[in-house]
Structure formats: C-alpha cells, structure tokens
Amino acid sequence: MTDKTPIVVMKGITIEFPGVKALDGVDLTLYPGEVHALMGENGAGKSTMIKALTGVYKINAGTILVDGKPQQFNGTLDAQNAGIATVYQEVNLCTNLSVGENVMLGHEKRGPFGIDWKKTHEAAKTYLAQMGLEAIDPHTPLSSISIAMQQLVAIARAMVINAKVLILDEPTSSLDANEVQDLFKIMRKVRDSGVAILFVSHFLDQIYEITDRLTILRNGKFIKEVMTKDTPRDELIGMMIGKSAAELSQIGAKKARREIKSGEKPIVDVKGLGKKGTINPVDLDIYSGEVVGFAGLLGSGRTELGRLLFGADKPDSGTYELNGKQVNISDPYTALKNKIAYSTENRRDEGIIGDLTVRQNMLIALQATRGMFKPIPKKEADAIVDKYMKELNVRPADPDRPIKNLSGGNQQKVLIGRWLATHPELLILDEPTRGIDIGAKAEIQQVVLDLAAKGMGVVFISSELEEVVRLSDDIEVLKDRHKIAEIENDDTVSQATIVETIANTNVNTGKEA
C-alpha cells in the first residue's frame, strides 16, 4: 500500500490473562509519518495491545519488530529507550510532584551540580506551552489541576522524549473541542516530522479528521487494517461491533423538553449553595423526571457543583431542600440515604475499588446505605447484579472478576450499575460517557432518558456539548466557577447558543471571595 518501511510491526500478538484471552493473534503495523488508529469497542483489547508493545504486559505469542529488529521490552523504560513514547489511557502521573517535575521526570536537565532546576523548569514550560498550557506555572502541584489538564500534562510529557513512535490512548476523552483541535495541531506537526502516531479514540469525527490508517479489533481478535479515507462510517462501525450500524440504537433527535407544571415541587431546591474557592453560590432546582445538563469549559466548576450536591465536599453557604424538606447533606452517606447518587468523573481514584469484584463494586453502595450488619440477601444480590450486568451490557459478563481487570469503558458501566442499584431520586452523572464506545454511549444515553421517563431527576455533566444539548431539559451554564446562565433547552437552543453564552457573559470576578 505504501512504499515506506514500517517502524513497528507486531505480528500474531497473543496475551492471556487468567481466564481471558485479551488478544488473540493481532497484527499491527505502524508507518512513520502516519496517524494510525486502533479501533474497537470497550474491552476489544486496544489498551492491551499498546501495553504489549511497550512491555507492560508480557506477550504469550507473537513477534514485535521495531525498526526491523525483533524486540522484547521488559518495561516502559526499554520501550522509551527504543524511541516509543506513550500516554496511557488512565492518567499515570505522580500527584505528589509538581506539574513541571512530572513533565520532566527522568529527563531533567543536568548541570554541573546534578539537576539544574532552573533549566528544567524552563524546559517544562516550553513543553507545557506546546500543549497550550502556558498559563500553568511548572511549580503548581499536579494534584491541584483537573483530570483534563493532567491529561494534557501527560501528553506534554510524551513530547519530551524525542520519539519515533508516539502512542496516545484515548487522549481526547476528557478534552473539550478547542483542546482537541490544539492537540490535533500538535499531532499533525509531530506526524509531519516523520513520527508514527498510534491513536485511540471513541469519537468517530476525530478519527476521520486526524487518522490515515485504521486497525480494527473485536473481542481481542484482529479484524482488518484499512485506510481511513476508503472506509465509510457505517462499514467501520459494522466491523467494530460485528453487526450492521443500523442495528445500533441511535437517539438522533433532541429530547422533548419536559414542561414543569405550575405548582409542581422540585426534588431538589438549593439556594446559594457554594464553597469558597471552589464554586460560587448557585441557585438550582431539579424536578422529578428532568434532565439538567451542566455545561461549561474545563475547570468551570461543574464537577465541584456536582460534588456539593452529593455532599462529597462540604458547602460553606446555602440551603438545601429535598422534596420540600430542609436537609443537611454533609457526606455521601447522607446523600445516598436521601436518594441522591453521584457517579464520579475520576473513575480510578474515586470510583472503582480495584481489587473488589465487579459484583462487590456494584453492590457496595446499596450495602453501605443499608448498614454494615444487614447484608443483602444472596438472592436479591444476584438479581441486582444480573439485572445491571445485562442492562448495561458489561463485558466480560463474569461478575466475579476484580473490577480493575475490566477495560475502562466496562468499569464505567459497572459504576453506573452501582448507583442505579441504590434507586436514587436524583442521579448526578459526571462525564458518564467519557471513554465509552459508540455503542455503549448510545446505551447510556438511552438509560438516562429512560430513568428520567421513570421520574428520576438526573444531572448530566459532560464536556460534549452535543450530548448535553440533546439530552437535557434545562442547561446550567458555568464559567469560572460561577453559574452564568440557566437555559431552557427548547428547539431554539443549539450548541452554538451555549458557546455564545459562555463567550459573551462576563463573570464579575470581583464577587469572588
């Protein structure tokens, strides 16, 4: 197809984990100067393939050639030395160090007396600037920036190595449209300098925009390698999910707005809810059966507001009324007791309990609300697990596996099951579709609509304006930790409306404490 010599050739890669064959004879070829996408559903084996290449997992069969030489990396260090830079799916940085230190770890600039910190920080600054993060002081603790920005820091870090191969595993899952464009700019530049880029994303638009070539996996098996420009969407989706795209349930149209009847009481009615330094006082009401979307740019405070509603952080101002009754939601337990549930955007640190099984992860919140000494009867537990495994289509369908061994997308589904099992009246979903494949994304969106139809109040936080606009009845727009607008989402409202609102509203920063 091309006369370039490939830089990476992986042939017949097989990886087995106890009980699962995650990869079964998969081939992958990377050419310099190309962006290559690894496509597949959640759990198809994309991340595993990447980890096979970088030596994180040992392969059971197959060969890896890098630059024509057979290689067996014993870890990422070896891979790095061979010119492969990787940004893994879950952000893997050290939260105890500063942003600059994270960018430069292992590549600090050295002077006559060991590390020259001044030079190192300067270098870090230029790499950060490349990612559009010039506003971040390299000395800022990593723990104080949001997940999305950490993702960008991780990418900046990958640029430090003068790599021949750059691997990006779902780098865009938490970025907003602007940042994606900036990332693409950098990717194009890097590509044009002759680097091979391996890219994973569940956003088809992005795939068609940036990639040249695709390798499609399904259930750990190699399906096909194709050129992007020759492959229509339907065909691609078909190859990924193994059935025709038409069968995929699609919620095309925008949801009809649920009209609030006069005299109807909201489930949640908060006034002036805020916390100094995190989110300025917000008024908000959520009615039964309503989907309220939170829209805003990165760091606008959507997550923070969600956490306050759930009691994960303690508010320092405001009143909180639940079904007309004044409540004090001081911690997640109280929230759950009051039938409020919150699904976090930070799946790894605040969501999954890694070593526990899928079953335990699904039941634990329900168990916690019932109390330690009232175990859920086995029959009931089985029924719950069974129900949500099926409803959410969790794969593999074995609930007795530790959740940490599931692919990212499937972990997310289990977590949603966890919250549904508590039968909340108000469900706060923070980035529920992040990192979820197209099939599952539609499923989750459908779940949200179904829940609302059954009378649940839903807060839907997402960086994808498209789905916020499509699913919400009302949209709360946030900017710089202020609520700047509440938009009734009728037919006149589109993504552009929101973007304009954000751009044109000036936050009176003087108000900030």
């Binding site: 939260t95 292992g106 949001s146």
Partner: protein
C-alpha cells in the same frame, strides 16, 4: 485554546512561596526551637555549648540513620534492618580490628557488609515481591542473629587503631569548663556530609526524583518509564550502607560494641523521619526534616530527665511528646490545607 486555557488556572499568587508540603518540616523547626527555649528557660543548660556539642556528637549516628531511613520511607517502604546492621558491622569490625586488620580496611569491610544486606533486602523486595517491611524485618533478624553468632562479647578496640580519628574531638571554642566548650568530631562532620549527600541525591539527581515518583505512585512511575527497579535497589543499598557508616561513627565514638547494640534504633530513626515531616506512606518529605526530627527525638530524653518524670512514666511521656508533635503538625497542615 489559548483563551480557553488561560482562565483555567489562575497564575499562582506571588509571595506565597512556601510549599504546603514543607509545612510539617517547618513545624518541626519551630517546635525544636521552642523546646530548646523551654529547656533553657526552665533548666538553664540547653544553650550551653557543651549541651549542643554532645547533642551532635552523641547523635551523629542517629542523624545518619535518619537520612538513611528517609529514602525508603519516601517511597512508601521502610528499612527495619538499620539497627541490626549497625550491630553486625560493629561486631565484625571490632573482631577484625582486634585481629590486627588495618582500620581503613576494616571500615571498608563494614561498609561492604552493610551493602550486602541492602542488596539482599533489595533482591527480596524486587525479585520475590516481598514487601519492604517484611523483607527488612527478615534481614534485621538475620543480621542480628549473625551478629550474636559471631560474638556476644563486649568488644573494645585495640590500642593504636585509627578509628579514634573519627572520634577525636575538635575543640572549636575552648573554655575552662568542659560544659562550655564547643566541640565537634569527625563523626559529626561525616554525619553532616551524609546530610548533604542525602540532599543532593534526593533533589539533584534523577534517582532522587524517581524516589519521590515511586512514593507518589509506583505504577505511574513504572509507566512513565522510570528505572523503578534499579532505584529500589539503590535505596535499600544506600540505607543499609549508611547504617554501616552509622555503625562506624558510633563504635568509633564509644570505642566498643557488641551484638546487642542498636536494638530499637530503627524505630528511633522512623520516629525522627516522621517528626521531620516525611509521610510514612511516601511521596512527601525532606532530608533536612529528618535531621531536625533526629535532633527533636534526641532532646526528648534529657527533657524527661530534667522534668523529673518518674521512671515508669518516661516512655509514656516520650510517647505523649511525639504525639503532641504529630498532632500539632497535623493541625498546622489542616490550617494550611484550608488556605
């Protein structure tokens, strides 16, 4: 994007330069000074040069051990074997010195023995997945056992050995009364050099940065392509070798040793490190904090004596003092977090 990201993070306020992570260490400084002032006010001897001199001379070994212990603790590990390594190297060293082996050679052998135990601990941890606590507990038992198999006698250095170079006192201020002299010895200088070494290692080498990274998250450090395994070996090798160095300084200082030396010193070292603001689960901490911690830990004993604490109560009072210390630190940190 530039406009989008520019308002994501506010430029940090200028002037607020003190890192939150440094607060516990600073608290250690303040409390140490307060303790000295309190001792001086109540008993009038804590600012005597003699007191200061023996604080350093008598605790040069602890300073070295505290630096040694800082490395594994920063990664979330621990080295329980340091006390026992002091014992075995001391016993072997004195045996050799008494057999007429030249002092320099003896010292080298002592350091090598320390290194061997460090290597063993590193191997158990890295190759056999043993947790540092258990691995170094095993090497602790092993070293202590071997030390007593070799000899249970009180051994003293023969005349005319060169160990006394280390203990030879250098009077900086010589007053008529010994309690007003400012004295140091080579042991103290060695301890200070070790502190400098620790500082440079942690803050100016890539190995040091890897140590912090491992403490933050070992799996992240591995995925970031840092030489985690090699660094782990270096850590336990260094801490054990420094323990051997502490042994040299200590034995030279008192001119004798036996198999029971160093019982419980690992806990003193851990206490020093923690008092100095290093978090036992790793990731945060400073060598200089550990040094201060060692000094604070050292000053607790004379304080209890001077306060006339009844014998049965001494360990309770020492425990309470450490408790007050960590609680204060915790409070200071909580206030810092709020800000």
């Amino acid at each position: 994007m530039t406009t989008a990201t520019a308002n994501k993070v506010k430029a940090p306020k200028k002037g607020f330069k003190i890192d939150r992570q440094m607060i516990p260490t600073l608290a250690a400084v303040v409390i140490f000074i307060l303790m000295i002032i309190m001792g001086q006010a109540m008993f009038g001897t804590y600012l005597r040069l003699g007191f200061v001199s023996s604080l350093f001379i008598d605790h040069a070994y602890l300073i070295i051990l505290a630096v040694a212990m800082t490395l594994p603790i920063l990664t979330g590990g621990i080295d329980l074997s340091v006390g026992a390594i002091v014992a075995i190297t001391a016993v072997v060293g004195l045996k050799l010195a008494n057999a007429g082996v030249p002092s320099v050679l003896v010292m080298i052998i002592m350091l090598l023995i320390g290194a061997v135990f460090g290597l063993l601990a590193g191997t158990l941890i890295e190759e056999f997945n043993m947790q540092p606590f258990i691995a170094t507990l095993s090497t602790m038992f092993l070293a202590r056992g071997l030390a007593s198999i070799i000899s249970t006698d009180s051994l003293t250095f023969p005349d005319g050995n060169n160990f006394n170079i280390i203990s030879a006192e250098i009077k900086i201020i010589d007053r008529p009364k010994i309690s007003h002299d400012l004295t140091i010895n080579v042991g103290v200088i060695i301890a200070l050099l070790v502190v400098v070494f620790g500082y440079i290692l942690l803050h100016h080498t890539r190995t040091g940065r890897t140590i912090y990274a491992i403490g933050g998250s070992r799996s992240s450090a591995e995925l970031m392509g840092l030489p985690v395994k090699r660094t782990q070996y270096i850590i336990y090798l260094t801490s054990a070798t420094l323990a051997a160095l502490a042994s040299i300084v200590y034995t030279a200082n008192i001119g004798s040793a036996k198999n029971t030396v160093g019982v419980g010193w690992e806990l003193d070292a851990v206490a020093s490190v923690v008092i100095g603001g290093t978090i036992i689960t790793g990731g945060f901490g400073y060598v200089l904090g550990s040094v201060l911690g060692a000094l604070v830990r050292s000053i607790l004993d004379p304080l209890t004596t001077d306060l006339g604490v009844p014998a049965e109560w001494t360990t309770i009072v020492i425990g309470l003092m450490i408790l007050v210390f960590v609680v204060l630190q915790r409070a200071v940190m909580a206030v810092g977090e709020k800000k």
